[in-house]
């Protein structure tokens, strides 16, 4: 690295000759230099296509064409009066919120379980990581198979246990399809969230927790008044992960329902794909895809700020 200059350092010579600053010392140079690759990468490889995508959303481009016939806001205004778009937007938010709430509840509970000492804990922890290690495209296929209403092992089991009077047509009814999609999201993300929360819990100083126990705080008091507030920054990170994953997710919904039945479970990503790519309506698809961006931006900025603030607070 900087062995050259170092070699010149001599200790307490009679007449000191101080080594001068080299490149390796200059923060004003090092800073930009170290940031440059990331910036260049992001600007060139995300920025350029992103700008093109924005241009697309203002054009009537079709079928892969990058000819930008400017149509102004027409794609957007058409979407705003499109009930299917509204449903997709609602679905996106619904899937995101519900699955995140469930993920966090499960993760906090699971983390508390894993925090306790019991036989087989390491094994349980490894097994919990499995969903996260699975390629989502393939794992979703497994769920397609699990929920296939003709062959569903879930239905079979419920039926044998006598818990199912009728029959569950998982992807055939919008409500059940929503349940299925959220289940897969939760399944996929809660292990990771658990790990994050576990990490957060291991960071809560033991003395604070013990103090709470000594004070006679019950489990829920401890949870809500000690653990959760201390976990907030970590939980924010987990939620942020989750929000980003669910909000931009394409694979799960697409593989599970392809937006069906009757386009009732589309999210913006799948609707954009169906309209823009399959329906060859590129401009409109781009508009759909970009619609969520402002929402995500606001959410992300708020949460990042929150995370940082909480961090400074500790």
């Amino acid at each position: 690295m900087s062995s050259g200059p170092q070699a010149q350092v001599t200790l307490a010579p009679p007449a000191p000759v101080f080594a001068r600053r080299t490149l390796a010392d200059r923060e004003s140079v090092l800073g930009p230099l170290m940031l440059a690759p990331a910036l260049v990468y992001v600007i060139l490889l995300v920025g350029v296509p992103f700008v093109l995508a924005i241009l697309l959303s203002f054009s009537s481009a079709t079928a892969g064409s990058l000819d930008f016939n400017w149509v102004g806001l027409r794609n957007f205004t058409r979407l705003l009066s499109d009930p299917q778009f509204h449903r997709s937007l609602g679905n996106t938010l619904r899937f995101m919120l519900v699955s995140q709430v469930l993920v966090m509840v499960l993760a906090v509970t699971a983390a508390h379980v894993l925090d306790a000492a019991f036989v087989g804990k390491r094994l349980v922890r490894s097994l919990l990581l499995l969903p996260w290690a699975a390629p989502v495209a393939l794992a979703s296929m497994a769920w397609v198979w699990i929920f296939d209403s003709t062959f569903s092992v879930v239905n079979w089991t419920l039926k044998v246990l006598g818990l199912l009077p009728g029959w569950l047509y998982w992807f055939g009814e919008p409500g059940l399809a929503t349940v299925a999609i959220i289940t897969v999201h939760v399944w996929r993300m809660f292990p990771f969230a658990t790990v994050i929360v576990l990490a957060g819990m291991s960071a809560i100083p033991q003395d604070i927790r013990e103090a709470a126990v000594v004070d006679g705080a019950g489990f829920f008091r401890r949870l809500f008044h000690v653990n959760l507030p201390m976990l907030l920054p970590v939980v924010t990170v987990a939620v942020l992960f989750g929000v980003v994953f669910t909000a931009t997710d394409f694979s799960v919904v697409w593989l599970l329902t392809r937006g069906g039945p009757y386009n009732s479970t589309h999210v913006l990503a799948t609707l954009a794909f169906q309209r823009g790519i399959l329906g060859a309506n590129l401009g409109e698809g781009a508009a759909v895809a970009l619609f969520l961006l402002p929402v995500l931006l606001v959410a992300a900025v708020v949460m990042l700020r929150l995370a940082r603030r909480a961090e400074v607070g500790t």
Partner: protein, 360 residues
């Protein structure tokens, strides 16, 4: 902001200092953390930078270390200018942080050896030196431990050993004792002083604790609001404060300041302010009538809080520290004759706060 322009510095150095700053400034936006500091530290000297938190003492030290870039001014070490273009690593300094900054991923041995590795010291020499430094602080048996396995005192000693091992020109110590408990601190202070005497290394020591400063420093530089208010021997600074800030910052309880006349404040130390009777027949005393509000017994002495029963000074609180040897009764609510020797009075300009001669 003080209206002080340039505080009088007692004992102007005659020779060029070993560490010297000239007109050194550091501004963070509008905040002038260090505002034109001239400091001159002689070779082998132990200088303490003393001041309240936020006074700029740490920033000053960090500039000397090269960790902050001065906004203006010059820094010399061993007669050579270093302020702009010599990185910290090349300045031949050693520094001990308040947190000790031990590398958590390295053992005590590796921590101590780390500066030597930078200098590419040969392996056997390195081992010898580390062992020498460890022996100096009684760390021989802790060398394999990681910092988290060490107690606070042990960590501090590892940090010192690391500072010593490379035989630096200058030690910079940033409140190295503040994380120790009171008992340990006294011992450590003594050891530190001994060590510095023994090694003879020029040392700059930052603290906000006046007891440390008085006990350790060959000279003390009292800082406030980015400026050095006064620099001198502990005794000098204590006895002859250059301004009202120094007068009130040093000493516990601080110097009493009361109005003398329109343009003058008069100051006297609580321990010099005793019941009239304690002085016996001594002449050249100034007497005041003290209305006592509260009395604290501190074992070695009594602190009497009150105010002077004089027309223009009735609103000014005054403290008297009466040694336990003076057995006169002092009751709360009563008024007594108190006195101070005229030679123990110090006069300050009411407007600038600067020391001035006794008004005739």
């Amino acid at each position: 902001m003080s209206t002080l322009t340039r505080p009088p510095i007692t004992e102007e150095p005659t020779a060029l200092g070993y560490v010297e700053t000239r007109g050194l400034c550091k501004h963070f936006g509008d905040v002038r953390a260090v505002d034109g500091v001239d400091l001159c530290v002689m070779e082998g000297e132990f200088v303490v930078l003393l001041g309240p938190s936020g006074c700029g003492k740490t920033t000053l030290m960090r500039m000397i270390a090269g960790l902050e870039r001065p906004t203006a001014g010059e820094i010399y070490i061993a007669g050579e200018r270093v302020d702009d273009d010599v990185p910290p690593r090349a300045r031949g300094i050693a520094m001990v942080f308040q947190s000790y900054a031990l590398y958590p991923h390295k053992t005590a041995f590796q921590n101590i050896a780390f500066p030597l590795e930078a200098a590419q010291v040969e392996r056997s020499t390195l081992r010898r030196k580390v062992e020498w430094a460890a022996a100096l602080f009684g760390l021989e048996r802790l060398l394999d431990r990681h910092p988290r396995q060490l107690s606070g005192g042990e960590r501090q000693r590892v940090a010192l050993a690391r500072a010593v091992v490379r035989d630096p020109r200058v030690f910079l110590l940033d409140e190295p004792l503040s994380n120790l408990d009171a008992k340990l601190r006294a011992v450590a202070r003594f050891e530190l002083k001994q060590l510095q005497r023994q090694l003879g290394t020029t040392t700059i020591y930052v603290t906000h604790d006046q007891v440390e400063a008085m006990g350790l420093g060959d000279r003390i530089a009292v800082m406030d609001k980015g400026k050095i208010r006064q620099i001198g021997t502990p005794r000098d600074v204590y006895d002859n404060p250059a301004d009202t800030f120094v007068a009130t910052f040093l000493g516990s309880p601080p110097m009493n300041l009361v109005e003398y006349d329109e343009r003058t404040l008069v100051g006297f130390r609580p321990e010099h302010f005793l019941p009239r009777e304690a002085f016996g027949g001594e002449a050249d005393l100034v007497t005041y009538r003290l209305r006592v509000r509260e009395v604290e017994y501190l074992g070695s002495d009594r602190l009497a809080y009150g105010y002077l029963e004089e027309e223009r000074r009735s609103d000014q609180p005054v403290i008297a520290a009466v040694p336990i040897t003076v057995t006169l009764p002092i009751a709360e609510g009563e008024a007594y004759e108190f006195a101070v020797r005229r030679r123990d009075l110090r006069f300050f300009d009411a407007r600038t706060g600067l020391r001035k001669p006794a008004p005739s």
